[in-house]
């Protein structure tokens, strides 16, 4: 009657997640991007009034630099600086994505039980496994891809804004700000780390879905308060020297991995992050050139993929997702 293949079916499950969470998945990153752009416009407009006295510095780019006559190597450095500016624009959207995925995960297998629509979904020929997996994929791929689209839109908006500003000052922005090779290299890497982020996020996503499928009420307390309480208790007993786990280790590898691994790029260790943004502060020396994207090199990504924390996290995440599937199957009956 109706051709239904497993792949089609799974696509419909993903659409279902998107329909329900359009606000979080699509509008939250988009609105974040729009808010940032609006703030930039405000800043540029006010900068116009102050620009005569001081040099303007936006996202680490000195406009004064634009007015100079630049050689080829300096233009290259300029592009590197633009890269850092563009990369840092992805941060606020990454944070927005973190909150979206956190609340999505906590509610994903709970809300439909509490409003009893879970019984409607269960009246359709969909296994509990594919239901839970659709939520894993929505959290780790669908939401990040949409956030990525918002990031690209924001970066383009930023470049257009800066170009207009440059034109206003009689500077040709194209050789300075627009470098297709740099842009596509940046986007390629941003897209490339989505699956790395996804793998890294598995323990957090697994934990949130487990709490969501398990809790009879207050899934937020289970998901968030429980690990934090455990961390506090561990620190406290650690102080009393009755436990062997150091409290930093526990916060970083247990609490952090259960709750914060859904932050995009949180698998980059502090070292590489520092390298990446070492001098991206208020004064881009631009001399940093090759070190610019140290955290983003294929080496760094490959290294992160085989780190023990990544691998153990994947195993723990898969185990918690399996437990979530089990609870999805047995927990419906509590709502008679």
């Amino acid at each position: 009657m109706n051709a239904v293949t497993p792949v089609n079916k799974f696509t419909w499950l993903l659409k279902r997640e998107y329909w329900e969470h359009r606000g979080g998945f699509f509008w939250t990153p988009m609105i974040t991007a729009m808010v940032i752009l609006s703030i930039m416009i405000l800043v540029l407009v006010s900068a116009e009034f102050l620009a005569n006295q001081n040099g303007v510095n936006i996202n680490g780019i000195h406009l004064e630099q634009l007015t100079k006559h630049l050689g080829e190597s300096e233009i290259e450095k300029m592009h590197a600086g633009v890269d850092i500016g563009l990369l840092s624009l992805s941060f606020p959207i990454g944070i927005a994505l973190f909150f979206v995925v956190l609340f999505y995960g906590i509610g994903a297998l709970y809300t439909d039980r509490s409003d009893r629509s879970a019984l409607f979904w269960k009246s359709l020929p969909i296994s509990d496994l594919s239901t839970v997996l659709s939520k894993v994929v929505a959290a780790t791929l669908v939401a990040p891809v949409l956030a990525m689209a918002a990031i690209i839109a924001l970066q383009l908006g930023f470049l257009v804004l800066m170009s207009l500003y440059a034109l206003l000052h009689g500077i040709n922005p194209f050789p300075l700000l627009w470098s297709p090779t740099h842009l596509f290299a940046l986007w390629f890497k941003l897209v490339l780390i989505i699956p790395v982020n996804a793998l890294w996020a598995l323990p957090s996503v697994g934990w949130l879905l487990l709490c969501s499928s398990f809790a009879r009420s207050k899934p937020f307390l289970w998901a968030v308060a429980l690990p934090i309480m455990a961390g506090v208790l561990n620190s406290w007993f650690g102080l009393l020297k009755t436990m062997t786990l150091t409290s930093t280790w526990f916060w970083q590898n247990i609490v952090g991995r259960l709750l914060l691994s859904i932050i995009p790029g949180s698998w980059m260790d502090a070292e590489t992050l520092r390298n990446t943004f070492e001098r991206a502060g208020d004064d881009v020396r631009i001399s940093m050139g090759p070190r610019l994207d140290a955290g983003f090199t294929f080496d760094a990504i490959g290294h992160a993929l085989v780190s023990p924390s990544m691998l153990i996290g994947i195993v723990a995440g898969v185990a918690m997702i399996a437990a979530a599937v089990y609870f999805r199957r047995v927990r419906t009956e509590s709502y008679a």
């Binding site: 239904v4 009246s123 047995v330 419906t332 008679a336």
Partner: protein
């Protein structure tokens, strides 16, 4: 997905078959050693007071709860084969609400996308008879329209078993009548089986082919409607013959217009006719008489 379900061998193989079906919630016994069989092409009313185990029985059939004993639905164990089973089984429950954020069009698209036995044309035809619009969200629909939508989705699925758990609870009489009329006229045929629980028993007793009473987790009556008609009789008796009637051990006695109405189980109807005016008892009266003392 396993499309080759074990076929029910013949038309007479039971759709639902339970042997020693039991379920406990802590100290409470919800189902106590239930044996039952439901044949294809029947409309079975499962009737019982609140807390008698109706919903638990339906949940067991739908694979939504663990249980002890044996239970097969369409030859499958509902606990381990829920996904396959749901290709052939539909249910509407008062408690199984449609998600409030869902749009009507999305609901149709989704079920069409995941259900191999769903016919979009049928569903659209049913929806066209209502005031429901595709762009509306479930939260914008009245309770009656939500049930219409759910029914349109379910009737468009070519299923073998339809389970209805208080499907018309909270609806007005117009929606209730329309609900059962649609089911009978546009959905039901001898290939399909409907299992329904409701408290508005008087509204559906004419459409039932079989009646089951459940009390304290046990099936206390399981008979076709014809058998019920043969077995039970109601007699309106003038006061002078009341003592004679009481001697025949009626199930119940009530007073109407100065006469006594007695309900008898398995007493010869020719003999009863000599006592007074003979009626077929309503299922509701039968239910009240049978369940006497349930909440005492």
């Amino acid at each position: 997905m396993n499309m080759d379900m074990p076929q029910v061998s013949s038309n007479t193989a039971p759709i639902v078959s339970a042997k020693g079906l039991s379920k406990r919630y802590g100290a409470t016994v919800a189902l106590d050693n239930v044996n039952l069989q439901i044949a294809p092409g029947r409309i079975v009313g499962l009737v019982g007071p609140n807390g008698a185990g109706k919903t638990t029985a339906l949940r067991a059939i739908l694979g939504l709860t663990e249980f002890d004993g044996e239970l097969t639905v369409l030859g499958l164990d509902p606990r381990t084969h829920r996904t396959e089973l749901m290709q052939q089984v539909c249910f509407i429950a008062d408690v199984a609400v449609l998600p409030r954020w869902l749009r009507v069009g999305e609901a149709v698209d989704f079920v069409a996308g995941v259900h191999p036995r769903f016919s979009r044309e049928k569903c659209e035809a049913f929806l066209a008879r209502t005031k429901i619009k595709h762009t509306q969200r479930v939260r914008e629909l009245s309770k009656g329209m939500i049930v219409q939508l759910h029914l349109a989705l379910v009737m468009a699925i070519d299923a073998k078993l339809l389970v209805l758990d208080e499907p018309t609870l909270g609806l007005d009489i117009l929606y209730r009548k329309e609900f059962y009329e649609s089911l009978l006229n546009d959905y039901f045929d001898h290939e399909k089986t409907i299992l329904v629980t409701t408290h508005q028993i008087e509204e559906i007793e004419r459409i039932l082919t079989d009646l089951m009473f459940i009390k304290d987790g046990r099936i206390i009556l399981d008979a076709s409607m014809e058998a019920v008609g043969d077995r039970y009789a109601e007699v309106m008796v003038a006061p002078d013959k009341a003592e004679a009637a009481r001697a025949l051990k009626p199930l119940s006695e009530r007073q109407i217009f100065g006469k006594s109405v007695f309900l008898f189980d398995g007493v010869d109807q020719g003999h009863l006719a000599t006592l007074g005016e003979l009626h077929k008892p309503s299922v509701a009266d039968l239910f009240v008489a049978t369940m006497k003392g349930t909440y005492a």
